[in-house]
Symmetry: C3
């Protein structure tokens, strides 16, 4: 594709020769002739001047200072990530969408399918409601009493159990499990022993429109209300969302995060990888939870917390810095003790100075 | 259902009008007319007086003090969680159990099935032994040389490999993997490089009666003995149970817990979410491991530990509190240094006071 | 099998009666007559003298000091783990390898299969390239545009998406997901709200020869380059390998590790269980990351780090030890303050000593 046409299409400003042709997008490190190179992070931009790409896609802010260093054509845009997405759409045709219901899928006679539904081989679909344009991947399982909104996409091997509703355009990753019962047990007296039996759940799961759920992630159904993942929330791989949890809208749960039962995560909150939220704990709107942090108290809206137990991010940074210098602090105390001991030895303990 | 009949059935004491009808159980926040509201936690009980439910189910202990504040009928019970489970059973009919072997399942001619076995569409069952009333979900895989005890329930998409025995009434969650080989490798000299090859495992997996295994959880087979999950142990989602591990009975592993090879977790021990146990480490009977804790030394029976490396819970709480005040401690040391320095400046270093 | 023959076959030195017969390998704790007992760890060797095994397999180094304490035959070897692997191979016949393409598998007409390919019942294979001796487990999914090298083994229920190449002899565990898109989003202006849309990925996944991938582990495809798991790297269960990550060769990722996007893990590096690496962070060759550590800065080659944020292992050990004694340190400061206060009270604040 000609650079001038590409610039127009992705909303970028072109510096250099618009007649040049690029055929694909590549990391700035790997890009060569015919490639549009992209630096994924600010520090990768240092590598840009040495790139072998035919053209580069960079942030306007960087170009303002550095464009003169480049000896190749440049596309400048802000935000650059949006231009990247568009460039990929322009240069890399999307793989063909699957079409039709594969004859090797098992679809219940009572299932109601909209127009242009695609169901892959080996998938099993119960008495469910599938909106227009829904895609169900190979070997996925859609139970009875499930609703998949228009354009929803359930990946290969994903499992969607009864009582789950998935909104329009939402994506459910491969191997994800939606609607399993949560970790709720109640004691039942028995002649011989106290046995904890699972409490049957009366809530379901609601995945709102535009949500993305990652691979092998689990979202449990609610014990007493619907577990809810709000619109456009992004959930990464291997995340645990417990029963009766309410997340989002527009929240972000990075890989391996765990949210225990009854907790809530407010609009736009971001939980970094491997962090956890204790049961019945609330993370406020726009709050940010650091990687591996353990939230055990409610987090106010807009706050940033880190550590286990999670505390304000700045306090945690300071504490961690001090922690590394505890040895030095202990030595300073020892010096003080020695000096005071010495003075005490010299000066009579009781009596004037 | 009439409240007086419900009270009788779930073993609760009725305060108010027994003629009232309730149709379903709901969280106290969501409950409205026709609902039995339930407060899942003590602090939710504050919301109870304002509830719109027709009736409420509350702990006896709370009712004793607060029942007079309520303007709706009340059911009081202890333990309230047991009454809740029973109320759900009374008001919410269980979904119909699956029945029979689906013709789209693949069942080996050598499989031995008890009475009333149900196998879902797309499931694959090898030369295995399935007791009476076993349920195998859609798209689950039961390998050769597997035994599923009476009433065992294997969820959709779960994978049960050769050499795994599952006890009576045990539940295996959707997407769980039982019996994969553990993370055990041995070096093999090769002409060109040292290569680590997997050591074939001679142990299997034993899941005892009444165990619950969560979604996408993994239990590895033993290298030299059977990996064992003891009776009535509850394992949440996305948990890793390593090779040769012995857990339970009656233990609790919350979501995303990891137990490394050869470790043991004693009867009734509770591991909170995202905690981990190092290989060859023993967690004693009734011990409690805090969320995200990292157990690297044996934990005595009945002990409570937290932190990484895990230490006694109280010591950890104290250390965490101090950690937050390290700044202040450092300032105090600085003050001492300044004052002592001042005195030193005033007083001759050697010589009498 | 006779002990003398076994010793010869596994490269061990025999102490005792070579006429004895052993039939299987077992943990030293479980071993009885007819068993070859094996102590999996140094501290288990204490149990060896009391073992009921017919014979024991022990490290040469241990035998040198302790062989005289034993009253049963002994096989001594170094490294003992290699001899163990060989003993298992000798005494425990491998389960029969699956053979042929099951008629209940769904194999695309355009798939190209090498010799001796085995595909299990319920598996779905697209227009992919499967080398000689490849095994695809039951209910696994191999998408279009996948290459599986000779001898590669894809476990039951595993999901291998388009653009993934798996090297010779590599193993993909049950339920693993390779090639899902990573967690990369870009803002798209919309009339009503800012929406983050997934950026389509142009990279794939390369799993090199001899790699082992554990159960339910996820390896995301690259956004701008191939995500790569280098030769002979061992990845345990429930691990997250993010988009554009490069790991190995010969690296080790223990269970529940998470590697965020664009990070790299060098040759031979070892990440212990539940540790995490921040996006765009590099772990050097041969580095060791402790259990549950959180790597947020680059780790130099050969370094050992621990804690969150990860610091050098020794510094972390020291800091953790000090942390446990913060109470004591605070008390020492309080004593100093009291003593200095007392002296100040006695001595006039200004004026000579």
């Amino acid at each position: 594709m000609r650079l001038d046409a590409l610039a127009l299409q992705i909303g970028a400003r072109l510096l250099g020769d618009g007649d040049l042709e690029v055929a694909r997008v590549r990391s700035v490190f790997d890009a060569g002739p015919g490639d549009l190179g992209f630096a994924a992070a600010p520090d990768e931009l240092r590598a840009v001047p040495a790139a072998h790409a035919t053209a580069l896609l960079v942030p306007e802010s960087w170009a303002a200072e550095h464009a003169h260093e480049l000896d190749c054509a440049t596309l400048c845009a802000e935000p650059v990530s949006r231009a990247l997405g568009r460039a990929i759409d322009a240069l890399h045709p999307a793989p063909p969408a699957p079409r039709g219901v594969d004859p090797r899928a098992v679809v219940h006679a009572g299932a109601r399918l909209g127009r242009d539904v695609a169901i892959g081989p080996g998938a099993v679909v119960g008495r469910a409601l599938l909106g227009d344009g829904v895609i169900v991947g190979p070997l996925a399982f859609i139970a009875d009493d499930v609703e998949l909104g228009p354009g929803a996409n359930v990946g290969p091997g994903a499992i969607v159990l009864s009582g789950v509703r998935v909104g329009a355009g939402a994506q459910v990753g491969p191997g994800a499990v939606l609607g399993d019962e949560g970790f709720v047990f109640a004691p039942e007296d028995q002649a011989e022993r106290r046995e904890n039996v699972p409490v049957r759940h009366v809530g379901g799961v609601v995945i709102e429109e535009g949500v993305c759920i990652g691979a092998n992630t689990c979202v449990d159904r609610g014990a007493l209300r619907d577990t809810r993942v709000g619109a456009h929330t992004r959930v990464d791989n291997l995340v645990q969302v417990g029963h009766d949890v309410i997340v989002g809208p527009d929240a972000v749960l990075v890989a391996q995060v765990g949210i225990a039962g009854w907790a809530t995560v407010g609009e736009g909150a971001v939980l970094a990888g491997q962090s956890g939220v204790k049961e019945r704990t609330d993370v406020g709107r726009g709050a940010r939870v650091g990687g591996q942090a353990g939230v055990v108290h409610d987090v106010p809206a807009g706050a940033a917390v880190a550590g286990t137990p999670a505390i304000p991010h700045l306090s945690w940074l300071k504490a961690m810095a001090r922690l590394r210098h505890l040895d030095a602090l202990e030595r300073r105390v020892r010096v003080l003790e020695a000096r005071l001991g010495e003075r005490d030895a010299l000066a009579p303990r009781s009596g004037g100075g």
